[in-house]
Every structure is written in C-alpha cells, then in structure tokens.
C-alpha cells in the first residue's frame, strides 16, 4: 500500500461537494466516503471537515437537515443544493483543466535540438 497523500490546499471544499453530491451524508459519512473513494490513501484532517461544512452551508452550496443515522442516532445530514451542483460542475471543469496543464508541465521532457 502506498503512503497516504496530504490534501492539496483549497481542494477540501470541492471534495466535500463531490462526496455529498453522491447522496446525502452526515459529517462522519463525508469522511468515510472520501476515504472509500480514495482507497484510504487521502489524509483528511477530521477536525477541519466541520468548519468547511459550515462554510459551505453558509454559502448556500449545501443544506443540512437532522435525521437518523444507520446506527439509529440523531445526526445532521448534508445534501447538495442547486447552487452547490452548479459550483461542483464549475470546480470539476476547472480542476480537470488545471490538472491537465500541471501534468503537461510536469511531463515535459527537455527539448532536443
């Protein structure tokens, strides 16, 4: 197994939006899903998840609702709002372009004269 990768600054919001877009989740669920999607290779600092969730909700990108968890406990569930869906799409597009560019730069080999 490869060693875990640290989160790139500024990407947590995008990842949360993606995680939530696959179906309503509580905060712990977001963590689990991110780990599941990355095969446990992404190191998400657990504490920083919540400020990000609050920030996204304040921005109206996700909405929360109290419900019952799989182990029958009260938990706050988050779901994507239409504004969140739009944002996620925009972020996904710009990220793919960005990563292509980065990959292009990093993949360049010295030009042969």
């Amino acid at each position: 197994m490869k060693p875990p990768v640290e989160l790139v600054q500024g990407t947590l919001d995008m990842l949360i939006l993606k995680a939530v877009s696959l179906g309503g989740l509580h905060g712990y669920g977001v963590l689990l899903r991110l780990q599941q999607l990355t095969g446990g290779q992404l190191q998400v600092p657990q504490g920083s998840l919540y400020p990000a969730l609050y920030r996204l909700e304040k921005q109206g990108l996700i909405a929360s609702e109290w419900g019952e968890s799989e182990n029958h406990r009260k938990a706050r569930f988050y779901a994507l709002t239409p504004a969140g869906r739009k944002r996620l799409k925009a972020e996904t597009d710009s990220w793919s372009r960005f990563s292509l560019l980065v990959a292009g730069i990093l993949g360049a080999s010295p030009e042969e004269t």
């Binding site: 509580h26 712990y28 600092p45 400020p51 406990r73």
Partner: protein
C-alpha cells in the same frame, strides 16, 4: 442573532461533533481496538475540539458578533470602574439631547409641522389685504360669490371662531365654538373618529341647517371631558339660542378648525350663526380657505378671486381710506399649517430658544470631549501595553467605539426621558389660563429620530475622535509614560485647557443671555399698568339671550353689586365690558365737533362700558373732572370718560372736559359729553403706547349690553372669595352663566407668557452650562494637581508655603475662567442683537446682566477650584517628592 438561536447553534454543533467522535470510536472498536485506546485515537485524529468549534463559529460568521458582545461587556465594566466619568458623560449627553429634543418638539409643533389634512400644500387662505397687511376673509355674501364662481378652486370653505352659549341637559354652559361651512371637513379631508362629519347639506337654510335639522360635531377632548367618552353623546342634543342641535359626530381635537393651538369644543354649520351677520355685506368675521385645482397657478387663482372681490366691493359703501388700508385686494396665503397667529407670536422666542439650546448641546459636547480626552490620556499606557503584547489596532478602535456606543445609548435614552418630561411641562405651561394653547407635544417618530441623531452626532464628534487618537500611540513611547514624564500629554493638556475655556465661554453667553431676558421680564413687570395688579377677582357673567340690553338685566347687575359688595373681605365690586388683558377689545369710530381728523385712523378709539365703581375697584385714578355716578342712567344726559392718551390726542393742551363725542356708526345715539379724564390703562400689556380709550356708563351703552365682567377688589387672596362671589351671583338669578373666573394678576402673568417662557428656559439652560463648566474646571484642576504633585513637592521642600501652593492652583482657575469670560462677551452681544425684539427696556450691553454673569462665573470657578487647591495646600513634601 438572538440568544435562543445562538444556544440552538451551540448545542447542535456540540451534538454533531460528538456524533462524529463516537462513530469513529465505535468503528475503531468494531475493528478490534481496545475501547479506551479507540477513544484516544479518535480524539487524536480529530484534533482540538474547541479550536474546531471556534472555526465553525467563524465559518458561520459569529465571531464578529461575539467580539461586539465582548466589547460591550468590556465597555460596561470599564465604565463601572469609573462611575464618575460615566455619570458625567451620560448626564451631559442626556442634558444636551433632552433639552434640544424638547425645544425641537415645541418648535416642530408650533412652527414646522403641517396639519394632518389631505394634501396641505394645495390649501390657501383667501384674505383681504390693504396697506395695513392681510386681515381675514371677506364677508359671507362675498364668500358665497367666490365659492360659486371661482373656478380655479376645487372648493372654498369658511370658518369663524366664537364662544357658544349652549344648554346641555338643562345646564347653561359656555363652549369654545367654531362656525364652519358645511363642506369644511370634506374639503380638508378630515374624517370623524365616530359618527359623521358635517356635510354641505347640513348648511343650507339659515337657522335650520339641512335635512337632519341643526347638527353639530364635537371634539374628542370635549367628548371625553363633557360626556365622559360615552357612546350616547352621538345623537344627544343641546339647546343653542332658539335651535335644538343634534350631535352627529366626534372629530379629532386638533383638526376641528384651522387655528393651531386653539382648542375647539363644538363646531356647527354657518347657517346656525346669526342670520343678520350672514346677510351683512360689510361684516368681516370669516376666515376663508380654498383648495386649488391641480395645475392651477397661484397667481391665476388670486387674479380670479380678486376680480370677483372687486366686483363685490364695487357695490359696498365704504370710505376709500378704510378700503385702501384693509380691503384693497385679495391675497392668497398658504393654509396647510393653519392660521398664523400662534406662529407669529412664538417664532422669535422659539428661534431664540433653539439657538440657546444649541449652545447647551455644544457645552455638553465639550464636556464629553474633554472627559474622553482625559480618559484617553489616562489609558495611553494601557493601550501601549496591549498593542505591545499583540492586540490589533482595529480591535482597540472597536473597543473605543463600543465604549462610546454605550455612553451614547445611555445618554440618548436618558435624554429622551428628559425630553418627555420637558414636553409634558411645556404642554402644561401652554394650556394654563382661560385661553389655553393646546399643543400636541407627544413623542413621535420624528422626535425620537432627532434625539438619536443628536446623540450619535455628539458621540461620534466628541467621543470617537479622542479615542481614535489614543489608539494611535506608539507602544514604545506609551510604555514609558508615567505621571512624572508626561510626554505626549502636554498636547492633550493644552487641548483640555482650551476645551475648559470654551465651556466657560459658553456659560458666559448663556448666563448673560439669561440675565438679559430676566432683566427685560423684570422691566416689563415694573411698567406702571395704570391699574392695580393684586387683589382683584374677575369673572364673566352673561344673562340669557332674551335679556340682552333689558331693564331686568340692569336691575340684576345692581343687585349683584350690592350683595357681593356686602360679602366679608370684599372692598368693592364693579361691572365693565372688559378688564385689562382679558383678551377682549372693542373699536368704534368717533366724530368730535370742532376736531378735524388728519387720517381715518385718528377717528378710531377703543370703547368700554364701566359701572361707577370700576375706577375704585381696578385702582385706576381719575385725573380730572368727575367719575360716573348712579345718576348717569338711561334718560339722563349722556356722559363719557376718556383716558389721558385720548385726551392728549384729540385736545392737546386744551381741556377735554365738556367736549362732545358722537359715534359715527350709531346714528340714533346722542352726543356724549366728556365729564372726566382717567389715567391710561395698559389693556394690551406693557409694550407699546397705551391705547386711546373712551368709557361710557354701562347704563348708557350704545348697544344692548350682553356679557359683562364682574371685578371684585378683595382684602385678602382674591381666589379665596371666588366660590362665595359665584354663589351670590347665581343667588341673584340662577340662570346667569358665569365663566372665565380669574384674577387680574393671573392675566398679567399670562400676558407675559412668551417672555416668561424664554427667561425661565434660558435660566435653566445657563444653570446646566454653569454646572458643566464647573465640572470641567474641577476636572482640569484636579488633574493639574495630580500631574504637578512632584513639582509642588520640590517647591515646598524649597520653602514654598501651603498658601503659595494653593495660590498656584487658584491662579490657574482664574486664568481659565477669565479667558472663558472674555471669549463669551462678543457672542453675547451678537445674540442680544438678534433677540432685540424679545428684549424690553434693556440694551445688549446691559451692565447688570454682564456683571451678574461674570460674578457668578468667578464665584463658581473659585468653588470648583477650592477642593483641588486644598489638596495642593495639604501636600506633604516628602510624600510628594517620592510619588511616581
């Protein structure tokens, strides 16, 4: 965010985070970890819970609010630790705000606020005007002409105030009445509170009214006072003259007519007024108001009304001179604020009061600024330390802001409370006496806004600026501050001294101003009025309508004088058609054989009827000739008295006695022979020249005598005899209507109403400014003693006596006060010039006012200096030298 929502936020966040931690722990346990280790691992993986919470709050935008709350708490704690500072600052702000809000409220009610009528800007008064200015509206027939033919107006309405004698439930009463044309309320857009308003249909036939018969509306106040607010008042009827009038509605008290301040009890249609007056083409008793049609220019409407008026005047017999003076043309005046009487009377006093209250506000501002400056200086070291250990400047500024906010809030709240009290007192003051002025001085949104605006402006200007300056301090310099090395505070001490001088200067202005107003009130009161001010009871007595001018009424008059004159404590009693200052007046036009009047005006005199006892009762001396006697009665030769002014005016050095007077407008009446000359009585008050008066015996009056005033000279307090006198009057004839019970003294006092208002309030303002400047002076000197403790220690160690040390402080006080006094002298002169219309018998440089103000300021400056000076004198040199 409210406290409850905040609590919910916190508990939900707590639950959410706990759920996370416990779920992770459970998962770890499920994967085989020891529960305690799992708990530890879960916490480790999560990080600091409290930090996370803080970040969540921040993400939710709560930290600003939290900081504000903390700042406010901190400010409150800081103020609690300095109760003297807080109290003086809040009190200054409250006084500044309260005084200005109250005076603004009065000004607003009297001068500024339009009446609550529909579209006030479209209303105009239609007035006759001449060389002597505008004077009311045209006669009723001309009003009808304008109403029916002036197409520039949507409508025209007429009104006229009059006391109404009514009989409600078999009791004769005098009500403050208003005759209005039927369309009056409709045209103005005034809706009744209950029942219905008067309508055009109610005003069709003389003495009958309309289809519902004679009807009336009453004011809300009268409804409460006379009918106890009973629903049955509507439909109730009362007797007025020959008519039985039914009450059909209740109107808002302030909108019964268009005369601001004048209370009206009952309004009835024009058609219920005297039929002869309605027909009379030369009777000028109406006010006429019109509403312009939209889009019609004022000048066009005026020209149209004027053309109709000129046509009407063409058919009227009137001397060209009188016409030129009074009835030359039609003039339009804005009517949205009602008639001008109240505004004209109080415009100058209110302007003066606004100016003076502005000075009080300025004094309060200076006090607050000085306090804040001192506080900032005292906290310079604290701020420096906090900056040095990492506090953000922004946060310090916010804290200073919070402190100012707390002070402002408390000041505004207390000031508003003060303003409410002040408004109530002012309303009571205006409503006193038999001719009350009723003002709506309740606290409305405008006033609250005004109070808040003042408090905020003051707070920002005077509180924030010093606070911001304090925050700008450099930490390094600030930390080195101690009471001995006062770097940087030299400048603030200079500013502080300048502010104290300004305060004293403002006090000087207000004190000298108050002195001028008080002196001029005293001067007015000391003018010889030509009658005795003390010890005379007066009341109006009216017979029933049928008895006007009758022999029976004359007999009753005689009987009343006999019984009242016999009451213990009564010296004399008399009848007259008016008494000085009771607001009544009567003009006549004279012809004097052998005298040719230079102008029409020269023929006009004031006329009163007197019984022979009048001169003795009022204390007016007879200068020449004889007084009236019981023999001057119907059938005997007609006799008249004139006052000095009339005698001098018509006969110069020559003898008035024996000359004849003929009343030009009373052709059937005989010529009256002048039998005596009496001292001038100032019927209109102490200002101006006394009026020319002709007096006739009541029994030889030129028209039917109706209501008369009974004057009673008493040995003791005249008020105490009022009940007994009323009883004897009604014992003589039970149907007599007694009203307006008062004393001459009270009427003199009421006639000086605006002078007393200005002098009382300006004195109060001056007292406030004086106290504020004493506080400022005291603070400055106490600070000087504290700052110079070490220096004084050295002086004393070198041999200075306690007396010399004290003199040091007293000299400082004298310099500050003296500079302030000098500063104040020029503005006082300016204010006195502006207010010269309000002054009487004093000039702007009145030595008493100035010397008084200076003396008071010096005495109070010495008092303010006494405590710090004593403290300086008691210093122990050893302790003083050792002090930090």
């Amino acid at each position: 965010m409210s406290i409850f929502r905040r609590r919910k936020f916190e508990s939900e966040m707590e639950a959410e985070l706990r759920f996370h931690l416990e779920s992770y722990r459970d998962d770890l346990v499920r994967s085989g970890m020891d529960p305690r280790e799992a708990e530890r691992q879960a916490r480790l993986a999560f990080g600091t819970v409290e930090a996370t919470k803080d970040q969540c709050r921040q993400a939710w935008g709560l930290e600003r609010l939290d900081e504000l709350r903390a700042d406010l708490r901190y400010a409150l704690r800081g103020l609690r630790r300095n109760p003297g500072f807080a109290a003086v600052a809040v009190l200054s702000l409250a006084l500044g705000t309260g005084v200005n809000t109250a005076i603004f409220g009065l000004t607003d009610a009297v001068l500024l606020r339009p009446l609550a009528v529909r579209d006030p800007a479209g209303l105009v008064f239609i007035q006759n005007a001449g060389a002597e200015g505008a004077n009311g509206g045209p006669p009723y027939p001309c009003f009808e002409l304008l109403r029916d033919q002036a197409s520039a107006f949507q409508g025209l309405a007429a009104f006229s105030s009059s006391n109404l004698e009514v009989q409600i439930d078999d009791r004769r009463e005098l009500a403050r009445g208003e005759y209005v044309s039927g369309n009056f309320y409709d045209l103005l857009g005034i809706r009744p509170l209950a029942g219905r308003a008067l309508r055009a249909a109610d005003d069709r036939t003389p003495e009958q009214g309309g289809p519902d018969g004679p009807v009336a509306v009453i004011s809300h106040n009268y409804w409460q006072r006379r009918f106890g607010g009973s629903r049955e008042a509507i439909g109730h009827s009362f007797q007025m003259g020959e008519s039985t009038v039914t009450i059909v509605g209740i109107m808002p008290s302030g909108l019964m007519s268009l005369e601001p301040g004048r209370p009206v009890d009952i309004a009835v249609p024009m058609m219920l007024s005297d039929a002869a007056s309605l027909r009379n083409r030369g009777a000028w008793w109406l006010e006429v108001v019109g509403r312009l049609k939209p889009g019609v220019r004022l000048e066009r409407a005026r020209a149209q009304a004027d053309a109709l008026f000129q046509g009407f005047m063409g058919g009227l017999e009137i001397s060209p001179e009188v016409r030129r003076l009074y009835f030359d043309r039609i003039q339009l005046a804005p009517a949205g604020g009602g008639t001008d009487a109240l505004r004209t009377r109080f415009a100058a006093p209110l302007a003066a009061l606004m100016l003076l209250s502005g000075l009080v506000l300025l004094a309060a501002c200076v006090t607050v600024a000085n306090l804040m400056l001192a506080r900032a200086t005292a906290r310079a070291r604290e701020f420096a330390i906090r900056l040095a250990i990492g506090a953000g400047r922004g946060r310090l500024i916010r804290q200073a802001l919070a402190e100012t906010l707390v002070l402002m809030g408390a000041g505004a709240a207390l000031g508003t409370l003060l303003a409410v009290q002040g408004e109530a007192a002012l309303a009571r003051y205006f409503a006193a006496g038999n001719n009350p002025i009723v003002l709506d001085l309740s606290l409305d949104r405008r006033l609250l806004f005004f109070a808040l605006a003042i408090a905020v402006a003051t707070g920002v200007a005077c509180g924030l600026v010093p606070a911001l300056r304090a925050v700008r301090i450099a930490p390094g310099a600030g930390m080195q501050l101690s009471s001995r090395t006062v770097s940087g505070s030299r400048e603030s001490a200079r500013t502080g001294r300048a502010l104290v001088v300004l305060q004293v200067g403002l006090s000087m202005v207000l004190l000298a101003g108050a002195g001028l107003f008080l002196r001029s009130l005293r001067q007015l009161q000391s003018v010889d009025p030509g009658f005795a001010r003390q010890g005379v009871l007066t009341m109006d007595v009216a017979p029933e309508h049928a008895d006007f001018g009758s022999v029976a009424w004359m007999t009753v008059q005689r009987r009343i004088l006999d019984t009242v004159g016999g009451l213990p404590g009564v010296r004399s009693a008399s009848w007259s058609s008016m008494t000085p200052l009771n607001g009544r007046d009567r003009g006549e036009v004279l012809e004097i054989p052998g005298y040719s009047p230079p102008t029409e005006e020269a023929r006009r005199v004031h006329l009163a009827y007197l019984s022979p006892e009048y001169l003795a009762t009022l204390g007016t001396p007879l200068l020449k000739g004889r007084n009236f006697t019981a023999r001057d009665r119907p059938g005997s030769p007609a006799a008249a008295l004139v006052n000095e002014s009339a005698a001098r005016f018509y006969f110069g050095q020559g003898d008035a006695i024996g000359r004849k007077i003929v009343f030009a407008h009373k052709p059937g009446k005989p010529a009256y022979e002048i039998v005596g000359v009496v001292r001038d009585s100032r019927h209109q008050g102490p200002r101006g020249e006394p009026w020319r008066f002709v007096y006739l015996p009541v029994l030889q009056a030129i028209d039917p005598v109706s209501r008369l005033t009974l004057s009673v000279r008493t040995a003791g307090n005249p008020q105490a005899l009022a009940v007994a006198v009323v009883k004897s009057v009604q014992a003589a004839r039970s149907t007599l209507l007694v009203s307006n019970i008062s004393t001459i003294e009270k009427q003199v006092e009421l006639s000086l109403m605006k002078e007393r208002l200005v002098s009382t309030l300006s004195t109060a303002f001056a007292a406030v400014a004086l106290v504020l400047s004493c506080i400022g002076l005291y603070g400055m000197l106490a600070y000087a003693v504290a700052r110079r403790t070490a220096e004084m220690g050295i002086r004393m160690a070198l041999g200075a006596t306690a007396g010399q040390t004290m003199r040091l402080i007293l000299r400082e006080a004298l310099i500050l006060a003296g500079s302030g006094i000098l500063l104040g002298i020029v503005p006082v002169a300016g204010i006195a010039r502006l207010a010269h219309a309000l002054l009487f018998g004093v000039t702007w440089s009145d030595p008493f006012a100035f010397a008084g103000a200076i003396l008071i300021l010096l005495v109070f400056a010495a008092l303010a200096a006494a405590v710090p000076a004593r403290r300086a004198g008691r210093l122990d040199p050893m302790t003083a030298l050792r002090c930090d």
